[in-house]
């Protein structure tokens, strides 16, 4: 092992925006630990994704954003007598900002404190555990990001994605996006918050982890800025997304100006070899799994791709090292520690799945003893008992063995993980043992309820075993999530509906569904052997294109699958408790529902509470004591907000933006959409926003008048009295009451009721 003075060779590893915001990602901690164990003492890691969220969601940034929206998208700019599709998104952003900016700015810090459990010193009093404080807080943060997005219109940053008007498919677009100060929110963020730190540190190597398509532009934006400021710093990129498109990125013109190399697949060994070569001043030819630019002729860099490195023996790898990550910035009251129990998939047969391909060759695992030892170490080092075991799925042997080792080691942790249906491993006793070892939630690849489709997918599981496994887990109080897929080649609408029905019939044992639309990337079997699946893969324009459209003679078209996705989601929203109403926010925030389970709530108890909330809201009536919510903002509009939102969510309109999943445009879609979706006509409307409640509500002139009268009278009861005295008929008063009840359900009107008692689980919630 080489021993270096710790400051001899500073390395910085950074996770560029956008990834999820509730817990650290695993890649950098693994790399840091590996470098450290190999003698590199000065390795810094930065989660720039959570830092950016934290930075944008401050009163100061939001105030700046609101001013920018005022300048770039003033509402009165839209004064024509029609609102064409091309302006609808901008108008919507302007309207929402006008209604929400002030209260979002006022509440953003408190909202972050709620999500982070920093709003109260007593655990059980924290807003995180109270849906009526948690959900408005989450909404406030979402609306804060909408404000940031509007300021960089038409870019959109959400907790789940980042897209611009530029397409990820084209290097020309991607590179242009890295320079567009108007639309790229990260240029200013990096300049102000990140570059000064990097310039002071002068790392010899900067490693950027690009797991998702949403990170490509932000990563290259940073890389370009660092390249300009620190020309001697070697910038390397790696991660899941680049395992797919790294070769295309290397072949694209202009990329050599942004960075120096790409590591393919697993990063530990190549990164260490790269650091060694650079430290010793050697060439890069022998660095395994590296693609790099030979700059012998500085004017004409030549792309070189090296041989693959041997994957590491996972059981020898140290535990991930989370030191230096901004733990207090994650949007979660407790750190959920990610830990890699294995890499690759022991099954590896599913025809749609490319996960085992991108991590690198082969399936490797840590032993249960090692895992238990690391879990205890990490628990003590980071003072958290919550774990997310990162795995494509747990092999049956480990499902049996790991619980024993964790119990033996008195780990006292709770954890969740992805899993595959293995009826033998998840029998009743096995499930109980898993629960005892701390397992609180498992996510199974269910995909479809149709045998024919399952066979084509080569899932190797029967519906009988699916039910058996889910029931055993449920009976052991382990929450079950199913991954499901719609639109697999040749799948018909009826078959997709069968999947929907199957899930809903088993809603007592399936708490959450992660529904995906099928898509084809260039690594997938469906791409390589399309005839096996009865499809024709179409060419994808764009030199960085990864995803392809396809045509099928049988089954749903891609558009029909997209419609079916909507139908299924809408049905889940009606029929699964955690998806109903605004409870969906629990599902959307990775690990938050798990933290409730980890704190003693049962899946059934939690679902019951969600269902009760939805039901209680539906039951809200026209109580005489109702008052207008004090924070309510009313903004007059010239067009209908809900019409605009509906139009924009039409598949035709959505196709005109880079697709959320794939970051790709449907060519000419904007033109087609513009032709088929009529512009909005002028209509007098009022947009209501109440920060406490956080939903946008639209009224017409009559409704706004009643609301104004209600404000003046103080309570609904007194308004009704006045109307009665004024001679209003019973039918008219009835209408008024119905209107008031509806506004009550939406939180626009509120009654004085005591704060609801906290849920039973809170009593046991400990810090």
């Amino acid at each position: 092992m080489i021993q270096l003075p710790s400051n001899d060779f500073p390395v910085t590893l950074a996770f560029p925006p956008q990834g999820h915001w509730t817990q650290p990602h695993l890649a950098l901690p693994c790399l840091k630990a590996w470098l450290h164990a190999s003698g590199y003492g000065d390795v810094e890691q930065m989660d720039l994704s959570v830092e950016a969220f934290d930075h944008f969601l401050t009163a100061e940034s939001l105030t700046r954003a609101a001013e920018k929206v005022q300048r770039r998208l003033p509402l009165d700019r839209f004064k024509e007598d029609r609102l064409p599709l091309g302006q609808m998104r901008a108008w919507r952003a302007a309207a929402e900002s006008a209604a929400s900016a002030e209260s979002v700015i006022e509440r953003v810090e408190a909202a972050k404190a709620v999500l982070r459990g920093q709003d109260h010193t007593v655990e059980a009093e924290r807003g995180f555990w109270d849906p009526d404080r948690y959900i408005p807080a989450v909404r406030t943060l979402y609306h804060g990001l909408r404000l940031i997005s509007s300021a960089h219109y038409p870019s959109e940053l959400t907790p789940h994605n980042f897209t611009m008007s530029y397409s990820n498919d084209s290097s020309e677009d991607v590179l242009a996006a890295t320079l567009d100060e108007e639309q790229n929110p990260f240029i200013e963020f990096y300049r102000e918050q990140v570059m000064p730190r990097l310039i002071e540190r002068e790392p010899r190597v900067l490693g950027l982890s690009v797991l998702y398509g949403s990170q490509l532009i932000p990563a290259l934006t940073l890389a370009r800025m660092v390249k300009a400021a620190l020309p001697d710093c070697h910038i390397t990129m790696g991660g899941g997304f680049l395992a797919y498109i790294g070769d295309k990125v290397m072949a694209a013109p202009g990329m050599a100006e942004c960075f120096d190399s790409i590591v393919f697949h697993e990063g530990e060994r190549p990164l260490l070899m790269l650091c060694e070569a650079l430290r010793l001043g050697e060439g890069l030819e022998d660095v395994g799994s590296l693609a790099w630019w030979d700059r012998s002729d500085p004017d004409h860099p030549v792309a070189v791709k090296n041989m693959a490195a041997h994957p590491i023996k996972l059981d020898d790898a140290p535990a991930p090292d989370l030191d230096g990550l901004p733990m207090e910035k994650y949007f979660s009251p407790r750190v959920v520690i990610p830990y890699d129990v294995n890499r690759g998939c022991y099954y590896g047969e599913c025809t749609f799945c490319t996960l085992p391909t991108v991590i690198g060759p082969g399936y490797r695992t840590r032993s249960s003893e090692t895992i238990a030892r690391h879990v205890v170490e990490l628990r003590d080092r980071y003072a958290s008992t919550h774990f997310n075991f990162i795995t494509d799925c747990m092999p049956p042997g480990m499902i049996k063995d790991l619980p024993e080792r964790l119990i033996e080691a008195e780990a006292g942790v709770t954890w969740w993980a992805d899993a595959r249906i293995e009826p033998k491993a998840y029998d009743a006793d096995g499930a109980k043992r898993l629960y005892e070892s701390g397992c609180r939630k498992l996510l199974f690849g269910f995909e479809s309820a149709t045998k024919r489709i399952l066979k084509m997918m080569m899932k190797g599981q029967s519906l009988k075993s699916v039910v058996e496994v889910a029931r055993n887990c449920t009976e052991a109080d382990i929450s079950v999530t199913f991954y499901a897929m719609v639109g697999f080649p040749t799948e018909t609408r009826e078959e997709a509906r069968a999947t929907l029905e199957f899930i809903e019939e088993h809603a007592d044992i399936i708490r959450e569904v992660s529904l995906q639309t099928f898509h084809i990337d260039e690594v997938a079997k469906t791409y390589k052997e399309p005839e096996q699946f009865g499809i024709r893969v179409l060419d994808a324009p764009g030199d960085l294109a990864l995803y392809h459209d396809y045509e099928a003679d049988q089954g749903m078209t891609q558009e029909e699958a997209a419609e079916m996705f909507e139908e299924m989601m809408a049905s889940f929203r009606r029929n699964l408790a955690i998806f109903s109403g605004d409870n969906i926010f629990y599902f959307m925030q990775k690990s938050h529902y798990f933290l409730h389970l980890a704190s003693g709530e049962t899946p059934q108890g939690f679902s019951g509470r969600c269902a009760d909330r939805t039901e209680a809201r539906a039951q809200r009536a026209a109580d005489p004591g109702l008052k207008v919510s004090p924070g309510l903002v009313t903004v007059p509009l010239d067009f209908s907000y809900s019409e605009a939102v509906r139009t924009l969510s039409d598949p035709l309109a959505r196709a005109a933006r880079p697709d959320f999943l794939t970051g790709r445009y449907v060519r000419d879609a904007d033109q087609v959409a513009e032709e088929q979706l009529p512009p909005l006509e002028v209509k007098e409307r009022f947009l209501l926003y109440d920060a406490e409640n956080g939903e946008f509500v639209e009224l017409r002139d009559g409704g706004a008048r009643v609301l104004a009268a209600l404000r003046q009278h103080g309570t609904l009861g007194s308004l009704i009295e006045a109307q009665r005295r004024g001679g209003a008929s019973e039918a008219a008063l009835d209408r008024l009451e119905q209107f008031a009840a509806e506004l009550h359900r939406l939180g626009v009107l509120r009654s004085k009721t005591p704060t609801p008692t906290p849920s039973p689980a809170l009593a046991s919630a400990q810090g």
Binding site: T481, L515, G726, G727
Partner: protein, 58 residues
């Protein structure tokens, strides 16, 4: 009723005012023409797009 009520805010209710000067008003004592008013209420459900359901991979 399942609301998070801050009593202080309720106490302030009397002073609350409409943030928009352009919103219509109705004089306290005047009868509203309740039968003639359009009381339609519209909301838009948070739309969940395919990538956003994949919160576990991302």
């Amino acid at each position: 009723m399942n609301q998070n009520k801050d009593q202080r805010e309720d106490a302030e209710l009397e002073d609350s005012h409409d943030e928009s000067s352009e919103a219509p008003t109705a004089a306290g004592g005047e009868a509203l023409d309740l039968e003639g008013l359009d009381l339609t209420v519209e909301t838009v459900e948070e739309r969940i797009s395919p990538s956003e359901t994949n919160v576990f991979d991302k």
